[in-house]
């Protein structure tokens, strides 16, 4: 039985929004992910999303440690929760994670302002997914975007 957070994740994440990237910096990677989300039907203003993600990073880095980052924002230009994910081949040393380490796995979440409860559930789901070292290792070593998508949407497999 899937948790509510997992169900939301499966609904909000589509295969084309899961990428294997080779961005040289945090800024480049975030730019790419915003672009991917912007192609989806739920994001009405891609520049507003870009601005919101950047503003949130200014307040505090979303690098949550253990090589993972969860950039996120809630804004009116988004109609429903949308998720994009990137596994960067290179480490991103400039992410300023809370543990000071580099980042490779990035989950971007965008939601409507009033979707606070679902938003928190999705963010908590990512936190759960990467909590165990073995899970983290599997995700960080995914060979393709499809494999990464499958791992994220069906972690019990």
């Amino acid at each position: 039985m899937r948790s509510p957070g997992q169900r939301l994740l499966n609904k909000a994440l589509t295969p084309e929004r899961v990428l294997i990237t080779d961005a040289p910096s945090k800024e480049d990677l975030l730019y790419t992910l915003v672009g991917v989300l912007g192609k989806g039907k739920h994001v009405k203003d891609v520049e507003a999303l870009r601005h919101a993600i950047a503003e949130r990073e200014k307040l505090m880095s979303t690098g949550i440690g253990l090589g993972v980052a969860v950039p996120h924002a809630r804004l009116a230009a988004v109609e429903d929760i949308s998720i994009a994910c990137a596994l960067n081949r290179r480490i991103l040393p400039d992410y300023e994670s809370i543990d000071g380490g580099p980042v490779r796995l990035v989950f971007m979440v965008a939601a409507r302002p009033d979707q606070q409860a679902d938003y928190v559930r999705v963010l908590a789901t990512f936190s759960q997914l990467v909590k165990s070292e073995s899970n983290r290792d599997i995700l960080l070593h995914a060979e393709s975007s499809q494999a990464l998508y499958d791992l994220l949407t069906d972690p019990q497999k």
Binding site: D114, Q116, R121, Q128
Partner: protein
């Protein structure tokens, strides 16, 4: 030539135009009175004087005659509303005190005015008969207190308390005493003067007038109560009440019964048979009565005619006012002392009994008919002297009466005590009831810290501010609910991630009534109030605190 002869009439205007001029003029007078901080009823009467028989004569004798039915309706409304204040439970509690005070003030005025005015008439005429007859009748008339202007002042200043209750009851009851004294006085005067109408006849007439009015009022009151129980709309209720009052007033005029007493009896029946339901009826009628009141008092002023009077009548007028005031004040004090009334009643109630109105003028006109055979000088009858004296004294006491009522309720600290929750809300803005001590969170505060702050403070909602101090969101217990079980993310999520948007649904200067309505529509319990320019959080407006503040203010204003 008779010095009390009427002055010539001004051109006649249509009666509706006169009513319009009266109501608008009265409102202007009330506005001026309020600027001068004196009761509005003086403004109405002053305008009446200005446009009436003593002034520009826009309302002349003919117009006054045409407007007479209107006066009876106004008296009926006043009587009915006064009756609505007379609940049996109040009389059970204070009945003995009211009776003692009423007898004290009524008899005090009667004896002093009888003695003083009788003495002056005797000195002027050298004849005992007109002196005794005039003294007795003027004394009896002086015992009446005008309920209309007294109660208008009490309503204007939203007075409530033991003094107000006593004042309403005493002014309502002392008309009956005045009429009884009048009947006795006129009977005695008739016997002394050897009138064609027998003393018994006069006594019988007045008894019929009083008892008949009470019986008529009780009967119509019972019928009205029966009909109102079946009325399901405010409009129909008002129509039924006005219809009944018109019928009662009309019947009283036709049967020569006292209008005020009859309508008062109706009010007493309703308030005592259906205390809760009736409050609504009286409230509805009071809203309707406002222009009727204005016009009534304008007409009181317009009717006063202060033509050239001989100097000695002015002496009677002066002594009448002094004796009446002293008698009422002293009599009240004595009655209150004997019945062990509240100190506020003992010391100040007498001040509230100076006004003289319709009953006194009515009795003086009756006296002029009953005593029209007693001649003082050639061409000047005792009846004319009584009418002139009562008219002039009515003007004087209508000027000193209402401010005295105001002084009495002010001294007793009862001004502004008759307030409801709606009144309090109407006087307040959001700024008056919002929480002023405010703890804010910063956008970058970690959720862990947010929980720490929220759990250690009673505040129901917390504004979230950015680095410039502007409020960008709000965190409430509701918005944290989803995070209780997600402690993993407390170390990297921040206040900005979980805050809700601020909707400027209320502002500090917004009327509280509007704010409460808005909150109700949005089903919101609390909201942040921001500075309109800097967006800095000023306060939390939460319904729980607002309601507490409203209750506190209501209790403070009611003196509880």
């Amino acid at each position: 030539m008779n010095p009390l002869a009427a002055v010539p009439h001004a051109p006649n205007l249509g009666i509706l135009v006169i009513l319009g001029i009266g109501v608008f003029g009265g409102i202007l007078g009330a506005w001026l009175s309020q600027r001068l901080r004196i009761p509005q009823v003086i403004g109405y009467i002053a305008i009446g004087l200005l446009i009436g028989r003593s002034g520009f004569q826009i309302i002349d004798t003919e117009a006054l005659e045409q407007l007479k039915p209107f006066t009876f309706l106004a008296l009926a409304i006043i009587g009915f509303l006064v009756g609505g204040e007379l609940e049996a439970k109040i009389f059970k509690k204070y009945g003995r005190q009211f009776l003692a005070i009423m007898l004290g003030e009524g008899l005090g005025a009667f004896f002093l005015v009888s003695l003083l005015s009788g003495t002056v008439i005797f000195i002027v005429t050298g004849a005992a008969v007109p002196a005794l007859a005039g003294g007795l009748v003027l004394g009896a008339i002086s015992s009446a207190t005008d309920p209309a202007s007294t109660i208008d002042v009490l309503w204007e200043y939203r007075s409530k308390g033991v003094l107000t209750t006593s004042l309403v009851s005493v002014v309502a009851l002392d008309d009956a005493l005045a009429m009884t004294l009048y009947a006795l006085g006129t009977s005695l005067a008739s016997i002394i003067a050897g009138s064609e109408v027998s003393a018994w006849q006069i006594l019988l007439n007045v008894s019929v007038e009083l008892l008949g009015a009470v019986l008529l009022g009780l009967a119509v009151g019972l019928l009205l109560n029966f009909l109102l129980r079946r009325s399901d709309s405010k409009d129909r209720t008002l129509t039924l009440i006005i219809g009944s009052l018109l019928l009662v007033a009309g019947a009283c005029v036709a049967l020569h019964l006292d209008v005020i007493i009859a309508a008062m009896s109706m009010g007493i029946v309703l308030i005592n048979l259906a205390p809760h339901r009736s409050q609504e009826f009286f409230k509805t009628l009071r809203a309707f009565a406002s222009p009727v009141y204005v016009m009534f008092f304008v007409m009181v002023g317009a009717r006063l005619e202060l033509g050239a009077m001989p100097g000695w009548i002015w002496t009677i007028v002066g002594l009448y006012v002094l004796g009446r005031s002293a008698g009422k004040f002293g009599g009240t004090w004595l009655g209150a002392k004997i019945s062990d009334s509240d100190p506020a009643v003992r010391n100040y109630l007498g001040l509230g009994l100076f006004a003289q109105g319709g009953v006194a003028v009515g009795l003086s006109i009756m006296a002029s008919q009953n005593l029209n055979h007693i001649e003082i000088f050639e061409g000047l009858m005792l009846g004319q002297v009584i009418v002139a004296t009562v008219t002039a004294t009515t003007l004087m006491v209508q000027i000193i009466g209402p401010p005295s009522v105001k002084l009495a309720i002010k001294k007793a600290d009862e001004i502004g005590r008759n307030v409801t929750e709606e009144d309090v809300i109407a006087d307040l803005t959001v700024g008056d009831v919002m929480t002023t001590e405010l703890i804010s969170l910063r956008e970058a505060d970690l959720v862990g810290k947010v929980f720490e702050t929220v759990s250690s403070n009673d505040q129901l909602a917390f504004p979230v501010i950015n680095t410039e101090g502007a409020c960008t969101g709000v965190i409430s217990l509701e918005s944290l609910k989803s995070l209780f079980t997600q402690q993993d993310i407390w170390s990297w999520m921040i206040a900005e991630d979980v805050m809700a948007n601020v909707h400027d649904i209320v502002s500090a200067d917004m009327p509280l009534k509007d704010a409460l309505e808005t909150m109700k529509q949005l089903n919101a319990e609390q909201t942040i109030v921001r500075h309109p320019e800097t967006q800095a959080p000023l306060s939390i407006f939460d319904l729980r605190t607002a309601r507490r503040q409203i209750t506190q203010q209501l209790m403070a204003r009611q003196g509880i």
